[in-house]
Symmetry: D2
Subunit: 174 residues, 4 copies
Amino acid sequence: MITIVVGTNRENSKSRKVAEYYAKLLASHGATSQILDLRDLPVDFAFTALYANTGKHEVFNEFVKIVNQSEKFVFIVPEYNGSFPGVLKTFIDGLDFPSSFQNKKAALLGISSGVMGGALALSHLTDILNYLNMHVYGVKPRIQRMSANFVDGNITDKFISDLIDGQAKGFIEF
Amino acid sequence: MITIVVGTNRENSKSRKVAEYYAKLLASHGATSQILDLRDLPVDFAFTALYANTGKHEVFNEFVKIVNQSEKFVFIVPEYNGSFPGVLKTFIDGLDFPSSFQNKKAALLGISSGVMGGALALSHLTDILNYLNMHVYGVKPRIQRMSANFVDGNITDKFISDLIDGQAKGFIEF
Amino acid sequence: MITIVVGTNRENSKSRKVAEYYAKLLASHGATSQILDLRDLPVDFAFTALYANTGKHEVFNEFVKIVNQSEKFVFIVPEYNGSFPGVLKTFIDGLDFPSSFQNKKAALLGISSGVMGGALALSHLTDILNYLNMHVYGVKPRIQRMSANFVDGNITDKFISDLIDGQAKGFIEF
Amino acid sequence: MITIVVGTNRENSKSRKVAEYYAKLLASHGATSQILDLRDLPVDFAFTALYANTGKHEVFNEFVKIVNQSEKFVFIVPEYNGSFPGVLKTFIDGLDFPSSFQNKKAALLGISSGVMGGALALSHLTDILNYLNMHVYGVKPRIQRMSANFVDGNITDKFISDLIDGQAKGFIEF
């Protein structure tokens, strides 16, 4: 069971649609997955589930439990302000330390409206996951120019879709 | 008028105390400052002041106004999970783009309980501020091992306090 | 006098041609400049001018002197293997520490054949220059897809050339 | 067979001694290894084995062959100027692209005389290896303050030696 994290709390995000694409891709290679969408987080979790409140928020605890029971994660990472969304890091800041990601495995997929495709976003997130002793799959594809390259739930650029397919297959074995 | 940003929303944070130290330091060199503490943000701002809700949250708009009216910022940056707090990035994600920090100036001060002192935290934040076309002062001190080096509102390590004093003086002229 | 560093030792590099473009641009705004091309370094400097040999290589010492006498630098930074050329870092490793770049100023311009344009290259170099207490100008343009966007010594994409023109003007005042 | 890369070309480097320590450690866990020391590179390789000269330098070609025949690498990474040595990146710039590290595996160990321990050095190198589609082991220990923590070829700090022992064991299985 691979947990696919939608890396933003935006409503009806493109990241969510890419997560659904990735779930189908994993299924086509025989792997089951579940989607964890940050838009479902409690709206006040940054203030009610961290620091002195760690462990006290029932709804947030459900998210913590899902993370604790998962061994492999795919992060769908949109580019916000030259990095990944703050809410994704806040979510990580609320998880159990240091066990949440320790010795677990992650695959990262960047998406962006511009051409850069979130190279820095994936770099920053890799730093953090490595700090937490998580192994990050070395191939980290990016879907740049989302409006052109991701249409009706599918990737139109064959080079990119092949790259992601290779990542998905490789990550199942990783 | 320099705006000092307390880079976490934790209650009674050490970052807040360091911000107060920095305000006094700036005053001793003839510069006025104000403190913007992220713990004062609306608890649900990540869900009610971003994306489709941009500009619609009265309280958050006050924070936006303070940023828009400031030209120089000092960021007090604690290390959380190998980077800076997610709430600081979420705050930036809610600001006006691209004008908020464009062609403005920032000084960064890292703090940490461990020895690394947030080198990666300051690197990530610099990437983001540069992406937003903000100039970051080149000297970025770090107070490592806070419990030993920051006691009763003062820095006990002379090497570190001299470094920060130099940063403060230089940043006023920057 | 601004020193423009050609960030590679490749013969007849595109970086050199971009450096010449930048020199003209600076001249058009009334600033004088000189070009420091890494292809002119002694071929064995990595082994004969560093560590125990620091200061002993006459030719390399001339490069050191140019750096020591300059206050402002423009770095033309090609993307090699997802970062900047190793030879540029080796050059920096051979300079006087910590005075070479301390409290001096840098502007960075990234170039690449692909679309990413060296976002990570500029991030890594910024980390290093900041470590050396150098102030990096916040706007860091990139010329992606060089073969299309840089033809006959000129930038064909108006958005990019405006960005670089703004950087040059701003950096003169920085 | 694991290839341990001494990440500097300095004579009698501490990195070399740490590489020898790591080789013994791997042997104690039943893994064979060989040391590739950058001080053995041709002194002019940055000018005679790259770009137009790729593949033409007999001695450098031997290094290329060792890399091409290895599947797992341990990089011993000293901190130079806030990152890793330029010569290590120049070495990578001279390898076959994109096959050299593609889908291969790396473990990183940082060393430094100061307390930071090369956090940024390991981050930069991870970016580059990931760009080349190499998988980097998530636990990246650092030996800070080398003169105190590494004496007579052994690590005196038990916390650090346990961390490295765990990395070595985990990497053999990775």
